[in-house]
């Protein structure tokens, strides 16, 4: 039996998700009606038979810690192995994690305690189903020092990724970060398998390098390739999403409502596990009309829902229309509202006659880097008073109350934030 330890990098901020990650780490962002992003990676681990999992956290870890807890939903509450949360700590050379490689470096003692043959480095914010045994088998077969999971992207988009250039044996001979003239379309998925002894050597070397940013993608892996070590590319061809932006987050959620979704959540042999609140099944009233949507437990739907993902415990009132939207847990939308192309975060109250997603898109006046598309985002715990009209690409911040609304008409690109 090979000894594999999985390390999930879950400390990232996910800045490009704007107010969705203002209070929670990106891996804790809700997805697909009942899950949080990290559920996919954790479930892949246990479905692949890996029951030794370290989760490296740093940015706003409370909700994530609470979600993972002792790992019970994933059967990771074990006497031997199981899940261990690895926050930054003081003592010796430690401190805040300076980069992905440094985060792993700081946990060398933890890793050594398992004395693994292989370490698989994963990201806590990707949505995909992957049997890690396949990449580990490939790694062993190639006699590799390290193996990087890659996916073929359209060549015209290759300039957005870290691109691997391989020889006929799949050995990586060169690496280019976001190249203007890509020589290949093999993009790294941020999933790495290493022989532990080999990785440890490089981590120690990288730590001593003053010029390094201590990041796997930027520093450690390019160095390994430059040293002509045996680093191979494993081609993955299944569904994989890095829901790094508001738009990709919104799209990947709505993809699940397609007749045959690209990610099969219904595969009984590859289940995705999560920690959720116990709730009764969903109720769809006589007045409801629901098409192409996901409606989760605890929901009560009286209105019209089209092409949307509705999380647990959501109430949608009579004569309200919700279209092309993602509505998270515990949100209440009263009657006669029209919500389209919107992400509504957890436990929001939208009073009657509110319209969101009206008019033509306009550039965001809050942050043009983050809010790039037409999608409006409503932050958690906010309250939108009756009759308010909100345009496209608008932002309503976290915990906004009725008093924060100076106008009853927020034009496209506008925003309302909570004032203390």
């Amino acid at each position: 039996m090979r000894n594999v330890l999985a390390l999930i990098l879950a400390g990232g901020h996910g800045k490009r998700l704007g107010i969705l990650t203002e209070k929670i780490a990106k891996p804790a962002v809700p997805f697909g009606g009942k899950y949080r992003l990290i559920d996919f990676t954790l479930s892949n681990c246990v479905n692949s038979g890996i029951y030794q999992v370290g989760v490296l956290t740093q940015y706003r870890p409370h909700l994530l810690n609470n979600h993972i807890n002792i790992g019970r939903p994933w059967d990771l509450d074990r006497k031997k192995g199981g899940v261990t949360i690895l926050p930054p700590y003081l003592g010796g050379v430690s401190g805040w994690y300076k980069g992905t490689a440094n985060a792993v470096y700081q946990n060398i003692e933890y890793i050594e305690s398992y004395n693994p043959d292989f370490v698989i480095i994963l990201s806590g914010d990707h949505v995909y189903a992957m049997d890690y045994n396949d990449i580990i088998d490939f790694h062993i077969l190639k006699g590799a020092d390290g193996t990087i999971a890659c996916i073929e992207v359209p060549i015209e988009e290759a300039n957005r990724f870290g691109i691997m250039i391989t020889n006929l044996e799949h050995k990586i001979v060169d690496f280019e970060e976001k190249p203007a003239q890509p020589r290949s379309n093999l993009a790294s998925l941020g999933i790495y398998v290493f022989n532990w002894r080999f990785l440890k050597e490089y981590l120690i070397e990288d730590e001593a390098d003053q010029s390094s940013t201590h990041d796997f993608g930027h520093d450690v892996i390019p160095k390994m390739i430059k040293d002509n070590r045996k680093i191979y590319a494993y081609r993955f061809s299944g569904y994989w999403r890095d829901v790094g932006t508001i738009k990709s987050y919104w799209e990947s959620n709505l993809e699940l409502t397609r007749p045959i979704p690209p990610l099969n959540l219904y595969d009984r042999h590859w289940r995705f596990y999560t920690q959720t609140e116990e709730m009764p099944p969903a109720y769809c009233a006589s007045s409801s009309r629901i098409v192409n949507s996901i409606i989760s437990e605890g929901c009560e739907i009286h209105g019209i829902v089209e092409n949307s993902v509705i999380f647990q415990g959501v109430y949608i009132g009579e004569n309200t229309v919700v279209k092309n939207s993602v509505i998270m847990t515990g949100t209440c939308i009263e009657r006669d509202c029209l919500i389209s192309d919107t992400i509504v975060a957890e436990r929001v109250t939208i009073q009657e006659r509110v319209t969101i997603g009206k008019g033509e898109p306009a550039p965001s006046r809050l942050d043009e880097e983050v809010y790039t598309d037409h999608i409006s985002v409503i932050g958690m715990y906010s309250k939108i008073p009756a009759g308010v009209i909100i345009g496209k690409n608008c932002v309503i911040g976290i915990g906004v109350t009725e008093r924060d609304f100076e106008l009853s008409n927020i034009e496209s690109g506008g925003y309302v934030l909570h004032r203390e």
């Binding site: 009942k34 219904y266 596990y273 116990e278 009764p280 769809c284 409801s288 409606i295 989760s296």
Partner: protein
């Protein structure tokens, strides 16, 4: 106050026909994701009871599978937790439970060993939500020896199927089991609360003399002991009373006030997790006044129905006034009306199943 919970879950009823062919009535699926026993078990746990014994006898496999280690109810504990009490064979012989009192008597060890002072006895067949702490307070403030839960039963209950009590104030003066001519409309709900040592004394006294039914023993004590009736006025139904009652209970789940009471008052109802994705409603679907559970895919028409977990309704299929249990598949163009479909049933394309005068039933894994 330390309380031991006991749940009688060994029952069987011919009137439930094929629905109980392979399961105890306490394991009957209700409201899309629950089993009948979840209600009593969750009520007990919500009232702070940390040790619960479940007495099983009739085909317990699905019940045992459902309860597991008791983890969903936080009953997987070092101290206390869940105890499954089955009839057993020993050197003295083997004894099936001959009645409620006999069943508890045969498990006297659990009563003797525990440090609990009180015992709460319920049934796995009852669907209700209660704050038991009020019953405990009632018991103490009435200085009762035994408290029985009772309820005014309206004309939707067949009184001759229940134990009917007469009350004088809070005190029960008479109990008649399944009377032909009931003197009142106050029915006993099958829930007892009393001092554990009193129960042990009664059992030692009467079971050894051949009395095997707990209610009969309590009835014989009405003059000697202070037996009080706690009048419960919430929703309470018994799945064991037949197909029509089982069907009615499920349909009650479509009523807002019933859902509010059962699922949102006095804590939650816990059940076994299945780790299925949320239900998905397709572009050709029409869903009206229905309950959908995790893992469902609906592309057809569903009206006034309860869909359990993993049900697949294909495009052009129609389901009306029906209870569809876990992993059942209804293919294109099929019509199901006024029916209860057990688990893993397959209704083939263009088939029709319509209950006319009574509810149509298909047993587990049936193919139509």
């Amino acid at each position: 106050m330390r309380i031991l919970g006991l749940i009688l879950a060994g029952g069987h009823s011919e009137s439930l026909r094929s629905l109980v062919a392979k399961r105890a009535s306490a394991a009957l699926p209700v409201f899309g994701k629950y089993r009948a026993i979840d209600f009593t078990l969750s009520n007990m746990v919500n009232a702070g009871i940390r040790k619960v014994g479940v007495l099983t006898q009739y085909n317990p496999r699905s019940l045992m599978d459902h309860l597991g280690s008791g983890k969903e109810w936080d009953l997987d504990r070092k101290n206390g937790g869940l105890f499954i009490l089955q009839p057993y064979v020993s050197q003295e012989g083997s004894y099936w439970y001959k009645g409620t009192a006999d069943a508890i008597f045969q498990n006297m060890t659990l009563l003797r060993r525990g440090e609990e002072d009180y015992i709460l006895i319920g049934s796995g067949d009852h669907i209700y939500k209660i704050d038991f702490s009020r019953v405990f307070d009632f018991h103490l403030s009435n200085d009762a020896d035994i408290t029985l839960l009772v309820k005014e039963l309206d004309d939707t209950y067949n009184l001759s199927q229940y134990g009917i009590v007469e009350l004088s104030g809070n005190r029960i003066t008479n109990i008649e089991e399944k009377p032909q001519k009931p003197k009142t409309n106050i029915g006993f709900l099958g829930i007892y609360f009393m001092n554990k040592y009193l129960l042990m004394e009664l059992l030692y006294n009467y079971v050894t003399k051949g009395e095997t039914d707990l209610l009969s023993i309590v009835t014989s004590q009405l003059d000697r002991l202070r037996v009080c009736g706690y009048l419960f006025n919430g929703y309470w139904r018994n799945v064991k009373k037949g197909i029509d009652e089982y069907f009615r209970i499920n349909m009650d789940g479509l009523k807002k006030e019933v859902r509010e009471e059962l699922f949102y008052k006095y804590g939650k109802i816990y059940t076994k997790l299945k780790d299925l994705p949320p239900p998905k409603i397709g572009s050709t679907a029409i869903v009206k006044n229905s309950i959908l559970s995790d893992g469902c895919i609906v592309n057809g028409t569903v009206e006034n129905s309860i869909l359990f977990r993993g049900v697949y309704v294909k495009a052009g299929a129609t389901i009306v006034n029906s209870v569809i249990m876990q992993d059942t598949v209804i293919e294109e163009g099929a019509i199901v009306k006024n029916a209860v479909l057990d688990k893993e049933v397959l209704i083939r394309q263009e088939s029709r199943l319509v209950g006319r005068d009574s509810i149509a039933i298909l047993e587990k894994r049936a193919v139509l």
